[in-house]
Symmetry: C2
Subunit: 110 residues, 2 copies
């Protein structure tokens, strides 16, 4: 398989997080959770996993009273996502290009 196909990023939960982060800067946890419609625990685990992979960085802030956690893609995370996105586009694109080596089972078929 295409080496830039990133199985780790490919899982839906992770793909949606990273895709949402890609065009943004720091995004807060609650917004992420509500937008991708997941639970605190599921999101927290995925964010840790992404942070562990070096794909996102996490920052805690305190704006008088409210404490929030923000997440941002790291440069490596962005690159990984771009590579994976490119791999996906190649797949989708290849799927549009008729290929040879098709063994048509014709006549004496059953």
């Amino acid at each position: 398989m295409d080496p830039s196909f990133d199985e780790f990023l490919h899982v839906p939960a992770r793909l949606s997080i990273v895709a949402l982060l890609a065009p943004a800067g720091w995004v807060d946890f609650g917004f992420l959770r509500d937008t991708i419609e997941t639970s605190d625990s599921a999101l927290s685990k995925q964010v840790s996993a992404l942070a562990g992979a070096g794909y996102v960085s996490v920052r805690k802030t305190q704006d008088n009273g409210t404490r929030r956690t923000h997440v941002q893609l790291t440069p490596e995370g962005r690159e990984a996502f771009q590579r994976h996105a490119a791999a996906l586009e190649r797949i989708v694109e290849a799927a549009r290009t008729p290929v040879e080596r098709v063994t048509a089972p014709d006549a004496r078929t059953r």
Copy 2:
């Protein structure tokens, strides 16, 4: 999540099979197995799964001596794939479009 995002098709093993079938007609089992570099058993299971979902049809042929199994996308399989591919493109595209609602943790951060 986008309703046309097809989790069943999204798994890499299935995605590669379907993407390979998309531009082709009948493709034979051995070619499929060698191209996507998987095992007989893994491929057989995925093909059954896809057939069970109505996404592919399977045909056995016998050309004097050699017996082969061929697989083809069904119209539903093709549509499902196109929908999923479109969902992927929307994700990748959305990732390029800057989004509002980004909570920037600036100054008093830590």
